[in-house]
């Protein structure tokens, strides 16, 4: 036992000595949460657009004023011809252009019909759809105001309810995602690199011939990262509750308990990687390719799993982060108890067991 403590102390010295890495370890989740919480929004604002008004009458002017007074669009007034529009699209200066037909007002009052064309830069299809929708709704609003006396009959109204997240804050998806990602990064990637490092530098031999048991060597490597992970969980939770305004609806105890299970899962994955690699670079590339990418892509954190092709949906079941993110969302945001998430917890435990079993089989005491 005393030996183990000494070994753990040695590992802590290694980590604490390296202040830059410590800064990144502690700072990364904070920076990531702040970027997700404040920088990345799907809300449209100040999109640059051009307006080609071939009519220049009262109605078109009114519509343009309406567009301008919404905070979504920023009108580029230097663009005055079709050729210029095309050029501006190509250089990326504008995202959308509006063309009013000639004699807009005349047509509207005489033939009850006037044309307005919206051209969107569909390089980003979602952005194009959103912008087109915003613009059409401004025009439709204007038209409804114009026709106020003729209220439309037979109207179906809709009432909308946004469950769990009425203000549609991005933090509700990013906090569980960041937790899944950071814990995996620290526990799996860093552990595997720390173990492989001893192999690469040749100090592993010294550790293995020492009187301490080989598995204690591994445990002493793992414990410091376990503690750092817990510190990160604390910072993430504090930040999300007090800065991002995300509630913890369910039991904090259950949340932390399942987080510890997830950390164990990630640590055992890290040990597994360290048994199959010889150099730090290889360990890093495997962690990056085999862990980070699937977590970002297949855990349902950045992209909804339901939209993916079936093969990817099946594959996503192998990603531990997927299950963990479901647990965090259920406990933290929906406030569900253990009776609804025991299945996910069991899956994580099974994965942990499997990783450990494979590592024990592959672990070589001799080099």
């Amino acid at each position: 036992m005393k030996q183990l403590i000494t070994f753990i102390q040695k590992e802590f010295h290694h980590i604490l000595r390296d202040t830059r890495s410590m800064l990144v370890l502690i700072g990364l989740p904070i920076v990531q949460l702040l970027i997700f919480g404040f920088a990345i929004t799907t809300e449209v604002r100040n999109a640059n657009i051009a307006i080609l008004d071939n009519s220049k009458d009262e109605i078109t002017q009114n519509i343009i004023t309406k567009i301008e007074s919404s905070q979504y669009f920023n009108i580029d007034r230097t663009i005055k011809s079709n050729e210029q529009i095309e050029k501006a699209f190509k250089s990326g200066k504008i995202k959308l252009a509006i063309v009013f037909q000639a004699n807009f007002q005349n047509e509207l009052s005489h033939s009850n019909k006037a044309q307005l064309q919206i051209i969107a830069d569909a390089t980003d299809p979602n952005q194009a759809t959103t912008l087109t929708n915003y613009l059409s709704s401004i025009v439709v609003d204007y038209q409804n105001e114009m026709n106020q006396q003729n209220k439309l009959p037979y109207a179906i109204k809709t009432e909308m309810r946004m469950l769990y997240n009425p203000q549609l804050k991005g933090a509700y998806t990013s906090v569980p995602g960041v937790m899944g990602m950071i814990l995996l990064l620290i526990s799996a990637m860093m552990t595997s690199i720390a173990i492989v490092r001893e192999k690469e530098l040749g100090t592993m031999e010294i550790l293995l011939v020492s009187p301490i048991k080989p598995w204690l060597v591994v445990i002493s490597k793992v414990i410091p990262y376990f503690i750092i992970s817990l510190i990160n969980v604390a910072t993430i939770l504090i930040l999300s509750v007090f800065v991002l305004g995300l509630p913890i609806e369910g039991s904090l105890f259950l949340l932390i308990g399942s987080t510890i299970i997830y950390i164990f899962c990630a640590l055992s994955l890290g040990i597994l990687i360290s048994t199959i690699t010889e150099t730090q670079q290889a360990a890093m590339l495997i962690s990056l390719l085999g862990l980070m990418l699937p977590v970002v892509m297949l855990s349902g954190y950045a992209f909804p799993i339901a939209n993916m092709p079936t093969i990817l949906q099946v594959l996503s079941n192998l990603v531990p982060a997927k299950w963990y993110i479901i647990i965090v969302k259920s406990v933290m945001i929906k406030g569900i108890g253990i009776e609804q998430i025991w299945k996910e917890l069991l899956i994580l435990l099974t994965m942990t067991g499997t990783f450990l079993l494979i590592s024990i089989k592959r672990f070589k005491i001799r080099l």
Partner: protein, 372 residues
């Protein structure tokens, strides 16, 4: 020149010796290009739907049929009460609840007004927003359909209407993959170039071979060049593979010139590798270098506009993206592939990237000292 040749041979030997890393370098672009465009889709389909129909009328059934036949929704559950439907949402079985009130058909025709409740699981705000938008447009269609049944034609036409037509340039089929693939290409070049170069010098430090290099009569610039060139070549090879794969799988190829693409990527790589070397010079251990590299990589990618448009960010974040080299490569790739932008259209991007190259490499050479 001869010294450089030998140094280069050493570097290439070291890269090719590690079969695992080599395989990874080639597997990475293939896997990413195959998986990411399929996974990273925001084209919303298969929104799971739970219906609470209190009316059981012809109209309510027609409306539900409209939902299921739209292609966006998958009906998974008929609940008797709203609370039962809510349970389904809680269990993640349903994304959207549509509750049709009792007397829906009667109120619509007699009172000329009725109300439907839509409740969406909004943990992911974006999915919820799109789900509700699709649902609304289906209800609106249905509403118009009912209206034309009950109102005589002339009265409807008497209201002046602005006809809005919309067209989508550069990507008329609204293919989301066309948007993602150029971004993934930029991501690949960045990942391979930056990670490999940031680990390189520090490895020599950690293993101790850097001292041997330091005591040899190699000039600073030769040393830096020998570290730059292999990864530069590797980066361009990865880009070439990327272009080939995206053509084979998705039929996507640049609408503009390939050469402009390679020229841009070449200059960009010089800048990026400079930054990688700088990281490597500052770091003491490979682990530390990885941390720092990972930290910057994450911020660069998040603020690079790969998935979320830069224009939507708040001002402070937009200013940050100006010093993010990845942003320029992603933009340039998209402009080149989708819009067929020419060298002249990209002139600012070129200038900025050349600037990055001079600054990063200057700092790298400046900071590299042949002493420990």
């Amino acid at each position: 020149m001869r010294t450089l040749k030998f140094l280069l041979r050493k570097e290439f030997l070291q890269i090719f010796r590690d079969k695992l890393i080599l395989r990874m370098i080639f597997a990475l672009p293939i896997i990413q290009l195959i998986l990411l465009p399929y996974a990273a889709t925001y084209e919303i389909k298969n929104i799971t739907l739970s219906v609470v129909d209190h009316d059981h009328s012809e109209y309510s059934r027609t409306l539900i049929n409209k939902f299921t036949s739209s292609g966006y929704f998958k009906l998974v559950d008929y609940s008797r009460t709203y609370n039962n439907a809510l349970d389904q949402v809680e269990k993640d079985k349903a994304d959207l609840i549509v509750e049709i009130p009792e007397g829906f058909e009667r109120d619509l025709i007699r009172e000329s007004e009725t109300k439907i409740l839509l409740a969406a699981n909004a943990i992911s705000g974006q999915t919820a927003g799109l789900a509700v938008a699709y649902a609304n447009s289906i209800i609106k269609d249905f509403n118009n359909h009912v209206r034309t049944q009950w109102i005589q034609q002339p009265r409807l036409n008497a209201i002046p209407a602005i006809e809005i037509t919309s067209s989508n340039w550069f990507n008329p089929q609204m293919n989301y993959k066309k948007f993602i693939v150029p971004g993934v290409l930029a991501l690949l070049v960045t990942l391979v170039g930056f990670l490999m170069s940031s680990l390189n010098i520090v490895k020599e430090k950690e293993v101790g071979t850097i001292e041997q290099l330091n005591v040899s009569p190699i000039k600073k610039y030769q040393f830096i060049l020998s570290k730059l060139i292999p990864f530069w070549v590797l980066g361009l090879v990865v880009l070439t593979i990327g272009f080939i794969i995206s053509f084979i799988i998705y039929g996507i190829y640049p609408a503009g010139s390939f050469w402009v693409g390679f020229l841009f990527a070449g200059i960009y790589l010089i800048a990026l590798l400079g930054f990688g070397l700088l990281t490597s010079i500052y770091a003491d251990t490979q682990q530390q270098a990885m941390f720092i590299a990972y930290f910057f990589m994450l911020i660069f990618i998040l603020l690079g506009g790969l998935f979320s448009p830069i224009e939507n960010m708040p001002d402070w974040a937009q200013y940050l993206t100006y010093v993010n080299p990845v942003r320029y490569l992603i933009e340039a790739m998209r402009m080149l592939v989708l819009k067929g932008s020419s060298f002249w259209d990209l002139r600012y991007h070129f200038l900025v990237v050349i600037g990055f190259g001079i600054v990063f490499n200057g700092l790298a050479i400046w900071n590299y000292k042949k002493t420990i």
